[in-house]
Amino acid sequence: MSSVPALALEDVTCRFAGRDGGPSYTAVANSTLRVAEGEFVSVVGPTGCGKSTLLNVAAGLLAPSSGAVNIFGERLVASQGVNRRAGYMFQADALMPWRTGIDNVIAGLDFRGVPRAEARQRGEEWLRRVGLAGFGDRYPHQMSGGMRKRLALAQTLITRPDILLMDEPFSALDVQTRQLMENELLALWAEDRKSVLFITHDLEEAIALSDRVVVLSAGPGTHPIGDFRIDLPRPRDVSEIRMTPAFLALHREIWGAMKEEVLKAYERQRAA
């Protein structure tokens, strides 16, 4: 691992203008978050705490009100374009419904001007890797939720991003499919160990997947309040690792830090 982090959010604050000139809302306040090269970092926090905001800042889709984003030591300026070295897997369905599976997978190559024949060949290869070989000519609406997520994963990974940003990518899936996808993600990640920033509200998922778990406070003014190293052995099987004493101890420890924030967020939502 090099000393320069792959992704560094330095003292980032995001304020959103209030509606109709109302008071502005501070979603994220003075947050510093670093992901080393090859590190899998999960960010957990109560719902509505600004996790996605942090990810959009890291992607260059959103300019922070103050603070800086550095990608391998280079300053990222959102107004000059998105983070070119990152792939982003969205929580919502982001496939193009008018493109077939294979054409969705190769969209990134398409945009980069890779010749069609080569792009298709690489696309077929990726379809095979995510277990969708033979489904390339289907449209997204002809696929199940799990298949669409795999397609999105292939679409994101085919451009070989150095940093992978994931926003609760599996939250819409049923528990079984979800654990399958988590294992597949770990297997794909183990091949070339890219840096991953994984957002989730599910602490178990975070511990099972990550090298490090960062806990965020409840909003507004979200900021990291805890940073836990997960030294469980790899390769892991996400459904089995949940039963180990080491996992349970970590879960207890992190949940202790999180619980208060979750309750705070819950109270705030009830009051609103």
Binding site: A59, A94, M96, D110, F111, F135
Partner: protein, 265 residues
């Protein structure tokens, strides 16, 4: 199949009623005083058919139909292209759209058919005054649909394409355009009809050729059968054009889920 039989049955009943109620001497007159009056006002189906057959056998209709269809096609294509282009432009540039907003609303609220006489003065009595009227009618239908279509594109889809490295131009081509297309096609069905209205109303107000001209001439001599014949020919043409748009749509929009489709794995 059952549906088709029912549809044909309804047509037969309507034409049959038309025949029975208008044939002089078939039933005693119950509304008009003389038994040939109903035929005078409403025409007679077999005579209408005679006129249509005669038109096509002698080939008299082709020059008129050709002119009307040419005006319709030109109005449709020019209006649709402008609607698509300006719709995309305004939807993607909020400033321009804010500036143009009152003008667009104004032109859209205006009863544009009243422009027909002005177009006749500007473009003469040839086909271009009819095309111009068709364009003004078609443009707004397509424009508003494209505008709406582009505005409704999911922000996630745009963000995803940007993260995958799409340039502004590529965003337009692979996200905005296809996404707006389903709205555009919905509007094209309306637009074909309106292009037709533009052509016929234009001909009606002053022309030397076209199906609208034929109808106008026939009205001048109280020849109701020919008027109805013209209306029927126009209706069939409009249906054919609509089917053509539908066929193109079906071909281009294969990606859209159909309600009946239960193919899933």
């Amino acid at each position: 199949m059952r549906l088709r039989i029912l549809q044909v049955l309804i047509l037969c009943v309507l034409v049959g009623l038309w025949y029975i109620l208008t044939k002089p001497g078939l039933i005693p007159p119950f509304y008009f005083e003389q038994d040939n009056r109903a035929a005078f006002f409403f025409g007679e189906p077999q005579k209408v058919l005679d006129v249509i057959v005669n038109w096509f056998v002698t080939g008299d209709i082709f020059v008129h139909l050709g002119v009307t269809l040419l005006e319709t096609a030109l109005g449709f294509v020019i209006g649709a292209v402008f609607g698509l282009g300006i719709g995309l432009w305004l939807a993607l540039s909020p400033t321009a759209s804010a500036v143009m907003d009152p003008y667009i609303k104004g032109f859209n609220s205006m009863p544009r058919v009243v422009l027909a006489p002005i177009f006749a003065v500007w473009f003469g009595l040839g086909i271009w005054s009819k095309v111009a009227l068709g364009v003004t009618l078609v443009f707004f239908v397509v424009f508003f649909n494209v505008y709406q279509g582009v505005r409704e594109v999911s922000p996630t889809l745009i963000a995803n394409a940007r993260m995958l490295g799409a340039s502004r131009h590529q965003l337009l081509r692979s996200i905005y355009l296809p996404s707006a297309m389903s709205w555009v096609f919905a509007s094209l069905h309306n637009a074909v009809g309106l292009a037709f209205v533009g052509a016929v109303v234009g001909e009606y107000l002053g022309s030397a050729r076209g199906v609208g001209y034929l109808i106008l001439q026939a009205e001048g001599t109280f020849d109701v059968n020919t008027v109805f014949a013209g209306i029927i020919v126009l209706t069939v043409c409009a249906l054919l054009l609509d089917a053509a748009v539908g066929a193109v749509e079906g071909h281009l929009m294969t990606w859209q889920p159909r309600a009946s489709e239960t193919e899933k794995v």
